[in-house]
Symmetry: C2
Amino acid sequence: MRASEKAYTTLRGDIVDWRLPPGTVLAEVELSARLGVSRTPVREALARLTAEGLAEPQSGRGTVVSGISLDHVDELFELRSALECRAAELAARNRDPAVFLELHRQLGNAGRLITEQDPARRDYYRLAGELDTAIDDAAGNHYLAQALKSLRVHLVRVRRLSKDNPARLREAAREHADIAFAIANGNAAVASAATTVHLDNSLRHLLQGGAAPS
Amino acid sequence: MRASEKAYTTLRGDIVDWRLPPGTVLAEVELSARLGVSRTPVREALARLTAEGLAEPQSGRGTVVSGISLDHVDELFELRSALECRAAELAARNRDPAVFLELHRQLGNAGRLITEQDPARRDYYRLAGELDTAIDDAAGNHYLAQALKSLRVHLVRVRRLSKDNPARLREAAREHADIAFAIANGNAAVASAATTVHLDNSLRHLLQGGAAPS
DNA sequence: GCAAGCACTTTTGTATACACAACTGGCCGA
DNA sequence: TCGGCCAGTTGTGTATACAAAAGTGCTTGC
């Protein structure tokens, strides 16, 4: 793996997982020492992180981890809503019904994935990720998929910020199942509406504290 | 001005204005010689351009100017529609009516800006840009504004691809005026609908050849 | 005692040298 | 004659040295 890739991956993970909290100063020499590479690949990694919005240039000099607080999560969800509703509509038009019926079925049973044995909810989030991927693929729009991809980085960061709540997670799974079903049926309006409802519920639980965002 | 900034600005302009057509190889040594800076700032500029989607890494080695063709303009406009409709809705809720009434007035008179004396339509595009900025400001959503900003780079590139058409430009100005009016009235649904109509007309004229995209 | 200026330190910006990988050309063998 | 291999060349990836700029703290003068 290239040194710049390694630096980027490591830093990105550290920021997303809140090991580097917002405001942390990202000094090139210190990072190059810590990561065991020279400043050049570190600079490249910082440039990529800045472009993604995970870091931002400090006034005048230096780079810091960008802030993300519940104050601005509503803005993030507004963008998310715009993108995901449109993606759901497009997917409903172009979908392969079998794919989404299968996802609908799996999501209907997703409650049993949320157990105490898997505190990170890996299985659940994997399934939710599969729905996202299926929607992106069915929508068939490169630019939209790209915009969603860069958005999801920030969403993961928010998710880590909140405690997850098994009851809310089970509700969310049902909402996801509704979305998959509407897409399977080719009903764009319902798919969009179901997405709106899901995101509104997610945001509300998130802001009330302790709920999982998706 | 910093050398990396200069390299970035120059290359970005060259790509947007089609002086560097899609597929052009961006070789670091050649660029550093041409721009009169060393490879380091050139690399930084290429990284930024790649992050924006104006350039993309070639298979294995090197960087090339990314392609954009009419084949994919419909996808670009789908994303644009999702973002701008939402922005218009948000702006309609939070707007200062006076700002948008003034824009409505100016856009109503924009026909006279489209003269043979200004073949680049600088005054017209400046006014259209002011509407965009006013909507972004009124929407008050950092993430949405950021997504729109990165989208507009590609739109400018498409615009340069097409000949502009004075008649279509005058129509577009009227459509913009409609959008401004709906926002001034605080009517989110109409603002969104007017945006949809405008973008649909723009895209159709663009694909029919010879029309201006905004 | 406070403020202003200067020097020092720290950090980023730029240049360049070196390492390595991939493509290209020619040459040799089958 | 064609195909494969090897060497040379070219270009990117990384490291590091040097330059410049900005912040900080001290000193000095008022």
